[in-house]
Symmetry: C2
Subunit: 361 residues, 2 copies
């Protein structure tokens, strides 16, 4: 038995053999029917459900059998989002074509460690180098890409499909060849859950903060250590307008603060559904203080792009509108792309498809 | 609710909230009670079971709820073995200490692509470089490490815990700093399931053969392309006695055939529960033909180590004994380490702890 099956009309049929179950539901992240469906049982004890026609996307889902959530047992393809494992599938002929592997030249993905003096930790990060990087004599621009709360240095790989997006956009000539650096934004942690010396004793949960880690300004302050490490290790173009910084949610807040505090490092800035609810932050911390003055100073640095996007159903939508009003007051020019939907990876992947082609042109 | 809980006596307690379930079992890969346990339900609908005391190891398990197998919903740590996802935990104070992350210098892990002219494919492989590799001016020996049937270039990372084993052995001074190369042994495939241009259309199953891929001699014939790629990309010591080749199961058969056909490439050879059931192979294929003569020739090449291990409960035990009888006849000297247990990752990780310290001394 195969599950899920992508039907020719782009509806999707789920199946599970569970003769003793009393109730089986599917819960996914598609918009139709709010991603919910009730499976029905046939005489052989096989439950099934077919979704409405779905637009192209990477989708994740779980089955809920008599109240217990789990992956689809016949689908070997999964991803972890914070502390939960989801099954996944793609609907083709649209944005999800960029999230899959094609017969194009492939970049290299490296997982390596840098030392942070400020954080007093060896810390892991992920680096994408574009096709032909190893053999080339040229230097490359660098895009620093930050994850959200609950995420880590693997999130943009697994859920963001960054490697495929870059390989495919570069192959189509829509993006410049670039290095992409994905650090870990939880500044009290060495690496992703299970990859630190805490091993399995730290379990990720969506609490919106790793204790002692977030909103204390330390990660933002330490960020030049990462830039210096990358400039020393890789063939980079070490100048403001050959560096981009973007992040989603917590990483959007990090991006705002890092770029404002270090106005000469990044020439391209992207806020993806940025977590800019300043009422939750101690704005007296030096890195957060005097934000308007810092944004005013940034506006005079000859930057190339300040890009903001947020979904119109995102709880952070009003916070982003307030931030843009402050930017308007101090004369910081930005591009705003309002999207549909909420605080979701479907949006962040699509923002990448819009943002990456604008870099380093 | 947390599950599993490692108790102070190294028994393990599993828990799951499933008030509507009629039967909950756990099935894992520990030896006590054959890895099986029946959970019992308390008045709140929480099922639990405590194992006997377990020896140090990395263990994988699934829950079976009313006949449906799935991961532990409260445990975020999983690994894929062929087409199934398992939850995992460690028992400390023994071999599993080597399978976890400690505060030692960490190597770098790279996922990159080489082109095979013989196989006419771009193919993915995984490379471990030891701590300080990037900054050093020296060259390093290289260990080529092959997976089994159903596996791919991620298997030794995920299930074999190679990165932690190497980091920890090197930190203790028990292993030489070395490069470890983990290619994909399914010669009709570009990469692991989900990472090829077939994307999710190819699903791994334990059929003991990817069609058109295994036992045709092509992968073995093409292997020098991988060695040449690594020698051109990395700082290697490019000589026989600075190269090792080992593999498990199908990869053990690959190791036997590659080293026999290219006797001047590898000075260290390791067969881990090797899949040397020659009755399943067309021994007329040039790479497999004349094996005794090739082994006799290998015995005269000045190699450093030929190491064989297999568990005394492994169905391949008699085949490995037969192979060693052939080696005895032609005068090929080897070290045989008979282990307990069967055709299992617990053995292959332990073989690594024995084999790696013998390399490049």
């Amino acid at each position: 038995m195969t599950s899920p099956v992508i039907n020719s009309d782009n509806s999707v049929t789920f199946r599970i053999e569970a003769p003793k179950a009393g109730e089986v539901q599917v819960k996914g992240d598609w918009e139709a029917n709010k991603g919910e469906g009730r499976l029905t049982k046939d005489k052989n004890g096989v439950w099934s459900y077919t979704t409405p026609v779905l637009p192209s996307e990477m989708y994740t889902y779980r089955f809920i059998i008599d109240g217990v959530a789990g992956i689809d047992p016949t689908n070997p393809f999964t991803c972890r989002d914070v502390g939960s494992i989801f099954s996944l599938f793609y609907i083709n002929n649209g944005c999800a074509d960029y999230y899959q592997v094609h017969e194009v030249p492939h970049g290299t993905v490296t997982t390596t460690w840098y030392h942070s003096n400020l954080l007093d930790l060896n810390r892991r990060l992920t680096v994408y180098t574009p096709p032909y990087y190893e053999k080339s004599n040229r230097s490359y621009p660098v895009f620093y890409l930050l994850h959200g709360s609950g995420g880590d240095e693997t999130a943009w790989l697994e859920l963001g499909r960054v490697v495929r997006i870059l390989d495919n956009l570069i192959a189509e000539g829509k993006a410049e060849p670039m290095i992409v650096v994905m650090p870990n934004g939880n500044c009290s942690k060495e690496a992703a859950p299970g990859e630190t010396s805490e091993n399995l004793n730290f379990r990720p949960v969506m609490t919106n903060a790793i204790p002692g880690s977030y909103k204390n300004g330390k990660y933002e302050k330490s960020f030049p250590e990462i830039v210096n490490f990358i400039d020393s290790r890789y063939k980079t173009i070490s100048e403001k307008n050959s560096r981009a910084l973007a992040g989603l949610s917590m990483g959007g807040m990090h991006t705002l603060i890092i770029s404002a505090n270090y106005p000469d490092i990044f020439g391209y800035v992207g806020l993806f559904s940025a977590g800019v609810n300043f009422s939750q932050v101690n704005m007296q911390i030096p890195e957060y203080a005097d934000l308007d003055a810092k944004l005013a100073a940034f506006s005079k640095t000859g930057y190339k792009l300040y890009w903001i996007s947020v979904g119109n159903e995102d709880p952070l939508y009003p916070n982003n509108k307030e931030l843009m009003a402050r930017m308007d007051k101090v004369g910081l020019k930005y591009i705003f792309r309002e999207s549909t939907r909420g605080h979701l990876w479907v949006n962040w992947r699509e923002y990448m498809l819009q943002f990456v082609p604008m870099l380093f042109k």
